[in-house]
Symmetry: C2
Subunit: 384 residues, 2 copies
């Protein structure tokens, strides 16, 4: 293992906040980062060596990145796995995670099928080709159910709750293209495990607890406030799910805890919002782990360093406007609190603009940290 003139350059398709935090983590490891993104001056561009401007599914853009890189990865699920495969076959530059992991997780039906076939617990689900399938599933699962677009949904987009018969037709009308329907789980908690597939090793971070609102992640609490058995079960299920993935890298595995059981909700083949806490909260951040995994360096410890709370800074505006966040002085002045600003120039309703992490400086409990995070979050507001 050598670092120096032979250190690899990492090409990242996508230059949003995940690309930015990957570049921030790559620096100390001596790994240069090149990103591509359709938006000039994308969040990652300020901290990466170079940005190539181009679409996520554009073979020429991906090839330009590959030609300047030793390894390719991606930070957004909108990347076209076929384009990645074309480029990696043509240039010989390896891409991680493997495009088949992306292909599998891009299709929520295929993802659920693969998990289910492997004996990994998931909520009951069914493919939906029309009203008949949906009706049949509801007869089986009972209300409520969630109608989901198989492709392209994120942060709740593409999901349609059906709580009673009257919701069926509007949901079918609104749902775009191929769909599946899932039983809505009455969970006790939403958890997630950040998993890492390295070169010949696999590791999982401890289970975190996620608080969503309107299907968007608001807060992550690590470790999750549940009992040891559940946390261990979450890690065990996550390890099983990781086995189904191909290629190296970090995977965000979203879970439900329901009556002590763990079910997999979905998997993201990339660093995950619920793992942002790890920059301050763990010995090795999920971003450093992803860089290490993709370029083939040994993984670091996945233990958490201290109980940690992360809160997202979301656009609290009603219309897009130039981003100007007020109230950050309180974050700067609170010991143990860290701001991560993503450098986006425009704020939009509920857009992820940054996050704040709070670690203990004395012996604060997770409840104390959560209170601090919420107090700080309440002060943060965008000027309009």
């Amino acid at each position: 293992m050598r670092v120096g003139v032979s250190s690899p350059t990492l090409g990242v398709i996508g230059g949003g906040q995940l690309g930015r935090m990957l570049a921030e983590a790559a620096g100390p490891l001596g790994v240069d980062v090149i990103v591509s993104d359709p938006t000039p001056e994308c969040p990652a561009s300020a901290v990466a060596r170079e940005q190539i401007v181009g679409e996520f599914d554009d073979v020429d853009t991906i090839r330009s990145v590959a030609e300047r890189s030793d390894f390719l990865t991606y930070e957004i699920e909108l990347v076209d796995p076929d384009a990645l495969e074309t480029v990696t076959d043509g240039t010989g530059v390896p891409v991680h995670p493997a495009p088949e992991s992306l292909r599998m997780t891009q299709d929520k039906l295929v993802e659920k099928q693969r998990l289910s076939e492997a004996g990994i617990p998931v909520p009951a689900f069914h493919a939906v080709h029309g009203r008949g399938d949906l009706r049949e599933a509801i007869d089986e699962f009972g209300y409520p159910v969630m109608l989901k677009a198989r492709h392209g949904g994120y942060d709740g987009r593409g999901n349609f709750l059906i709580a009673e018969a009257a919701d069926m037709d509007p949901a079918l009308d609104a749902a775009p293209g191929a769909m599946l329907v899932e039983q809505v789980i009455e969970f006790d908690r939403e958890l997630s495990v950040i998993g890492v597939r390295g070169a010949g090793e696999t590791a999982t971070f401890p289970a975190g607890e996620n608080i969503h609102e309107a299907e968007i992640l608001r807060e992550t609490i690590v470790p999750a406030r549940t009992d040891d058995t559940v946390r261990e079960r979450a890690q065990s299920v996550a390890r099983d799910a990781l086995e189904l993935m191909a290629g190296r890298g970090v995977f965000g595995i979203e879970l439900f805890e329901a009556e002590g059981e763990i079910l997999v909700n979905e998997i993201a083949p990339r660093p995950h919002n619920s793992g942002h806490y790890s920059i301050e909260g763990a010995y090795t951040s999920q971003f450093a782990q992803h860089v290490r995994a993709v370029v083939g360096y040994p993984l670091g410890s996945t233990r958490y360093r201290d109980p940690t709370v992360m809160t997202n800074v979301l656009g609290d505006v009603t219309e897009p406007s130039p981003a100007s966040l007020t109230g950050v002085g309180s974050v700067f002045q609170t010991p143990g609190a860290s701001l991560h600003w993503y450098g986006k120039r425009e704020v939009r309703p509920l857009r992820k603009m940054g996050h704040v992490t709070v670690v203990p400086t004395t012996s604060e409990s997770r409840a104390d940290l959560l209170n601090t995070a919420r107090r700080l979050s309440d002060k943060l507001t965008f000027e309009t």
Copy 2:
């Protein structure tokens, strides 16, 4: 206080490892960094938004940086304070620390005089214009003494030890230009305090203990392994020294501990090698503090998070050669150990190429951490 479209851009004169770590720390704060350095593809260039290629004392280069920035700073003492002043006067872009801080610390005689006049304890010293002055000082101080170049010395360069009469003439022959002579202190420990002058606030990190070899820093141990009274005295002396400085930013204050007393050795008006531990070892790193201070954001906590040991990765070669560090696998695989590689392409004898920080993952003592750091350091070697 606002972060976003109005976030400042920070111009840094010098793009070595300090500039690189400043850029790494600026990202999460939403502060873009532009650097200048005479070497194309300097260490900071991979993580900064842009590099301007030009000399440290070149007014046009500094002006180019200023024109793209809201605040100017520098990371190397070779910068010309007059050039900084010309540019800041001409462009209205503020520079921190103030050029007079740089001017004062660039001249070891003036620095000592100012400290001494302020009643801050320093080793006995005397200006040297020739053999007569030197002879006189030796009569007063006794052997050994250190003959020092007033300007341009660092990492022991420009220092000449005079242990006996026979060393006098060779030292005078070798010493370039204006000089001073200092009593050599028989210290118990070398300490340092990282101080921060913010906008209307001043703060100091806890005293660290520094282990030098051949006048180059090898290891820093935080907190210093001395008693509370000495550590408090060190912070108090450092605060007094900070009062003499002008402008905002981080200052590295090198100290001697001798029989319970604290004397100031020298001050660097920039982040300091002995503060690198703070990236993992403190709640807010010295680099984040410098960025905050210069752009006028509130400072963060200066408390250490855990006892921490930092060891420098120095060029162990006899001739310059392309940098290729082996043995890094052990660092990657040791929980609590972090590599910071500076991205220099050429290794030279004793050149600072990176550092390794070790924090406890269980309840390791400082001695344990130091053992781990040395074990890892012993494995790191450059291929030739």
